[in-house]
Amino acid sequence: MSVTAARLENSNPLIFHRAAERLITTEEQDEHLPDPIDDREIFDLIRSINDPEHPLSLEELNVVEQVRVNVNDQESTVSVEFTPTIPHCSMATLIGLSIKVKLLRSLPDRFKIDVHITPGTHASEDAVNKQLADKERVAAALENSQLLEVVNQCLSNRTL
């Protein structure tokens, strides 16, 4: 029992309700009108990422919120802040990496993607931010097949 119990750092986290699916508007169905990439679209990309230790999504754990997503379609920049559930969460880097990878796979090349921890919510905030901002370290992390496996699991649609 102790083995499995020890795996969870925070066994009873706060959970939040999921936002409803985005409604499809008539403008979106119109062939000719362009739809700019907006905050909600980015949020929809990352909200369903699985938490590495709970069977819950990042949205349900409030790790990501729409207000902490900023996108500028014209200037091709995206900034996402995420909030670990506890300040000593050892999964913070992994969560950040998952968000980053999801955005890299889902957004056009032109975007500059910035993923960082919500200021003041994690003990080793700077170190994690630095890792996530360093392109080469991200690339190197993804060369590690064990790390890639965990990231892929966070990004796959859970079928259990």
Partner: protein, 1024 residues
């Protein structure tokens, strides 16, 4: 005879010394035919059975056993006795002979002449002289089969062996590894347990020898040659382990231990095994282990990420609680159920008061699982949990928290079949009825949609249980619902309100007639003139209209609601502009929902027949006449959309009418349309010269009413006679061929087809058809005719009517349609008409209006015509080819999936060709039929992958958004193909899909993101 028996020594000699195996069959034949007896065979074998060479003895025994296998039934008791004594003795013989000995014994124990006592002696020698586990698989199986036969036939003798039998079995089976043999061994063990064999001191031994396989982990060899699945072994073993309460003291610790395993399947198996113990055990067996079991179950449900583990854990808890609920209470001991549930409550209840935290859900599920086990446990749990939840609910102010609490509450107010109160017991919820209702009502007045929806769900559940809502509470509930209908425009809330209103109205109709219906009626007719531009009042009206349909669950209610709806139509007809076209259409849809209830409620059908339909028809007729008199065409009831919405109202009523009423309705409709007979209509102020089916004067507002005629006459069951059918058909044909108003001529053609489809086969039908087809052909062949489109429309509908009933003429008609694919004017229409032929039509010629529809007509059409289509494609000139591809895609698209899978492979090249066709509609149609096929692709696809990928990838930059979306979905589906077949395309797909990520349309980007995400996972660790 003598000559025959003289052959025997020769045969034996050849088998034993000559090693000619086939001679055994000859000997068997001889014995069966009565040419020689077993005794003669034994005599002939004589020397070989006693030979000093094990080899020779082996052959001798082998021959004897082989013959016995076929001929054991003819033996006398004396013979069996002698043979058994011989075989028992041979068990001690050389190991090479044992297999043959066992086969012989196996045959002998099946004999009905088995002498008393021999079963015991066989088993004794077997257990003494043979070490089963050192035998080969087949011989071990032989031993188990022998035990099974003896258990069937000689149960008494075997039981006389006492525990020795169990001990012998335990020894024999210890170490068995073959799945086939294990299934036999599990069967024997189950028999031992269920048939009351004496286990005594060997209980633990038997358990040990069986439980060492638990939990089963078995992967069948490739192709599974023995047809044994892991599940078979699991279930067989579970039946043994949970077969007797005497195993409890060994099994329960084992389950607790295995639940600690990290293997998910082991956890699930353990929990399911535990659940299977519940019905067999009593509380005494469980008593000592309850704390341990509970903490394991709790841990699994609290921590798991897997729904399987969770539901197995919950089922185990329910089973344990149900088992404890069966215990008989005595005055001097404490109630074991109560003790256990207190344990559960202690660990879970406090989590319910933390509605923001994750554990509130698993805790609620655990408590609900325990609660649903029995009436007694639901009494104990609700007594503690409901007050706490209700307190917590009233002390929390946030909607999200209240919603969670109410959602949890909902789980507790839903009774399960086993927790239902029996007769004489009152509902466990009765003490909390007042506070539950006030919690629900307070939630309904909150502004959060989620909270409202949850409250409505609770209300439905309470309403369904008799006695939980008092009259005044029902009234309050109805008032709340009314308010929500009038004020709340959230779609999900409206849906929930409709469901709740429907459910409550069935049980408490009076509150609805007195409160809700009048209030909605007022709202519908209140004049929102000032606010015309705003869409809000219109939406409120539509919600009211739709709510009226939702509450029309009983005939009494229908008599209140339907007239209100009719009143709307009537004021719309009078030209008062207060109702928009949209509103009028939604009234028609509501009427249709009510009309659908006529099926199974005769009274509703009669009410529609007597009141609603004549009024509807009258209104439509007035509108038509009015619009003809003045050029003011504003009346909504002349609009095509409104009339089309009225069609299903009439059609579903007519389909459900009793025969006599149906015949009456048919006569009324026909005489109105043929002779202008209006006496059955209300407010009879119609001119006498009405000719609705004549189109000479371009009076399309009248001729289009033919759609209502179609709704009526084409929907009756077969036994309803349509009067004057030939005259009717003639006029319909005229109208459909000569009218210039598309809605009129199409409706006339459909009506014609609907009648033809049901008309009895015979001369009358053939004559009518011949006449019509001649006219169609002549018009079509005359290329200058202005009425070719009309003739073609009639052709298609008649072709459909005949195709559905497998009429011999249908082939000629479909050939005609195919030939028109080349027609410069009608070619494209002809291609589109195939979609009409192959799909279900919503208003006519479908099963709900009793049309004659043979099963598999689509397959039949496809098999008969696909070749013609392919040939036509090959011989057509380049610019006509797309018409054929379009036709093909329509046909394939409508085929059932199973048929698509088998028929598609030969057509794949053609479909891939069709993807290159510049017509968006063709591309879309092909993509939409490819996508489901790609979920489970036919093997033929693998050779076409290269072509498929390049077509699909290039379509992702099509100019039509729907094509881009469909292509991306197909590419997504392709990622599910076997990895080795699609991995080579991964890099290319990822590269090409980078550009639709920047598509200007969000819907396209969404598909691109999910497709590309899946392709990234393909072949990547942790992916798929």
């Amino acid at each position: 005879m003598a000559a025959e028996s003289a052959r025997l020594p020769g045969l034996v000699e050849e088998f034993v010394a000559g090693e000619v195996d086939s001679k055994a069959a000859d000997v068997t034949e001889g014995v069966k035919a009565g040419n020689f007896t077993i005794l003669e065979l034994v005599e002939a074998l004589g020397l070989s059975l006693t030979s000093s060479q094990p080899q020779t003895r082996g052959r001798g025994v082998q021959l004897l056993s082989q013959v016995l296998q076929e001929c054991y039934s003819g033996l006398s008791e004396k013979e069996v006795e002698v043979l058994i004594a011989f075989y028992e003795n041979r068990l001690k013989d050389h190991y090479a002979i044992t297999p043959h000995v066992l086969r012989g014994l196996k045959a002998l124990v099946k004999s009905t002449a088995l002498p008393p006592g021999s079963a015991v002696s066989i088993l004794k020698s077997l257990f003494q002289d043979i070490h089963v586990q050192s035998l080969m698989v087949a011989q071990r199986s032989c031993v188990y089969n022998m035990l099974i036969s003896l258990m069937e036939s000689r149960e008494g003798e075997l039981k006389g062996l006492g525990p020795d039998f169990v001990y012998g079995f335990v020894q024999a089976v210890d170490g068995e590894r073959d799945p086939r043999n294990l299934l036999l061994a599990f069967q024997i063990a189950r028999n031992i347990i269920h048939r009351g064999y004496d286990l005594s001191q060997f209980t633990e031994e038997l358990f040990e020898v069986m439980s060492c396989y638990f939990p089963i982990d078995f992967t069948p060899p490739p192709n599974n040659p023995h047809g044994i699945a892991e599940e078979d072994l699991i279930l067989a073993l579970r039946a043994v382990l949970t077969g007797t309460p005497r195993f409890a003291e060994f099994l329960l610790p084992l389950i607790i231990e295995k639940l600690d395993s990290d293997v998910q399947n082991a956890k699930v198996d353990s929990l399911q095994t535990l659940a299977a113990c519940g019905p067999v055990y009593g509380h005494r067996e469980l008593a000592d282990f309850l704390p341990g079991l509970w903490s394991s179950i709790r841990r699994e449900v609290f921590q798991t990420a897997s729904e399987r583990v969770e539901s197995a854990g919950l089922a185990a808890l329910t089973s344990l609680s149900a088992c404890l609920s069966r215990s008989v209470l005595t005055s001097d001991s404490e109630d074991p159920l109560q003790v256990f549930l207190e344990l559960v409550l202690k660990d879970c209840k406090h989590h319910l008061c933390e509605p923001d935290l994750k554990l509130v859900w698993p805790s609620a599920k655990l408590l609900q699982a325990a609660c649903g086990a029995s009436y007694r446990s639901s009494l104990l749990i609700t007594a503690t949990v409901l007050p706490a939840l209700l307190d917590e609910y009233s002390s929390r102010a946030q909607c999200a928290q209240r919603r969670t609490l109410l959602e949890v509450l909902h789980g507790f107010v839903q009774p399960t079949p086993s927790s239902l109160s029996a007769e004489g017991e009152e509902s466990v919820l009765l003490p909390f009825q007042k506070s539950l209702c006030s919690a629900v009502f307070s939630a309904l007045s909150e502004s959060s949609a989620g909270l409202q929806i949850t409250a409505i769900k609770v209300l439905i559940t309470l309403g369904e249980q008799p006695g939980l809502l008092s009259e005044s509470e029902v009234e309050t509930a109805v008032d709340h619902l009314t308010k929500l209908i009038l004020e709340e425009d959230d779609a999900q809330v409206s849906l929930a309100v409709a469901e709740c209103a429907g459910s409550l109205s069935r049980l408490h109709p009076s509150s609805f007639t007195s409160r809700l219906i009048p209030r909605l009626k007022d709202e519908i007719f209140s004049e929102p003139m000032v606010l015309r531009d705003d869409s809000a009042p219109s939406k409120t009206r539509q919600r009211c209209v739709s709510a009226l349909a939702s509450v029309s669950t009983l005939p009494g209610l229908v008599q209140e609601t339907a007239p209100v709806l009719l009143q709307v139509l009537s004021s719309a007809q009078r030209g008062s502009n207060s109702f928009s076209l949209e509103e009028v259409t939604s009234v028609c849809h509501s009427l249709q929902r009510i009309a659908n209830r006529a099926q199974g409620a005769e009274e509703i059908g009669k009410f529609f027949h007597d009141v609603i339909i004549p009024q509807l028809l009258g209104l439509a007729l007035q509108a038509a006449l009015q619009s003809q008199r003045s050029s003011d065409l504003s009346s909504a009831l002349t609009q095509e959309t409104v009339l089309s919405a009225l069609v299903p109202v009439i059609s579903s009523v007519c389909a459900a009418l009793q025969t006599d009423l149906a015949a009456q309705t048919a006569a009324q409709f026909v005489s109105l349309f043929l002779d202008g007979e209006t006496s059955f209509l209300p407010e009879n102020t119609y001119p006498s010269q009405i000719q609705l089916l004549k189109s000479e004067f371009e009076s399309w507002s009248q001729s289009q009413l033919v759609c209502l005629l179609m709704a009526c006459v084409c929907s009756f069951p077969h036994n309803v006679e349509i009067p004057e059918i030939d005259r009717l058909l003639g006029q319909l044909e005229d109208l459909s061929c000569t009218s210039t108003h598309p809605f009129s001529y199409t409706s006339a053609a459909k009506c014609f087809a609907g009648l033809i489809n049901k008309r009895a086969a015979g001369q009358a039908l053939d004559a009518a058809l011949e006449k019509t087809l001649k006219r169609i052909r002549e018009t079509l062949d005359c290329e200058s005719s202005a009425q070719r489109v009309q003739a073609f429309t009639l052709l298609v509908w008649v072709a459909k009517a005949l195709l559905l009933r497998y009429h011999p003429l249908s082939t000629a008609l479909s050939d005609k349609i195919f030939s028109l694919l080349r027609d410069p004017e009608l070619g494209s229409r002809a291609a589109d008409s195939l979609s009409l032929l192959m799909s279900d039509s919503s208003d006519v010629l479908n099963r709900s209006c009793h049309a004659d529809v043979r099963i598999m007509y689509r397959q039949r059409f496809f098999t008969e015509n696909s070749d013609k289509l392919v040939q036509g494609f090959n011989s057509a000139e380049q610019e006509k080819k797309s018409v054929y591809l379009k036709a093909l895609s329509h046909i394939v698209n409508n085929l059932p999936r199973q048929v698509q899978l088998t028929e598609l492979p030969p057509l794949l090249p053609l479909l891939l060709e069709a993807l290159l066709c510049p017509d968006d509609a063709v591309q879309l149609s092909v993509l939409s039929c490819l996508q489901p096929v790609l979920q489970d692709p036919p093997p033929a696809l693998s050779s076409q992958l290269e072509a498929l990928f390049s077509r699909l990838l290039s379509l992702t930059s099509s100019s039509a958004m729907n094509v881009r979306i469909a292509a991306l979905r197909c590419i997504h589906a392709l990622s599910r193909l076997p990895e080795h077949t699609v991995l080579p395309f991964r890099a290319r797909v990822l590269r090409v899909l980078a550009s639709p990520l920047d598509d200007k349309k969000r819907l396209v980007r969404k598909e691109a993101v999910s497709a590309r995400g899946e392709w990234f996972l393909l072949g990547s660790p942790g992916g798929r």
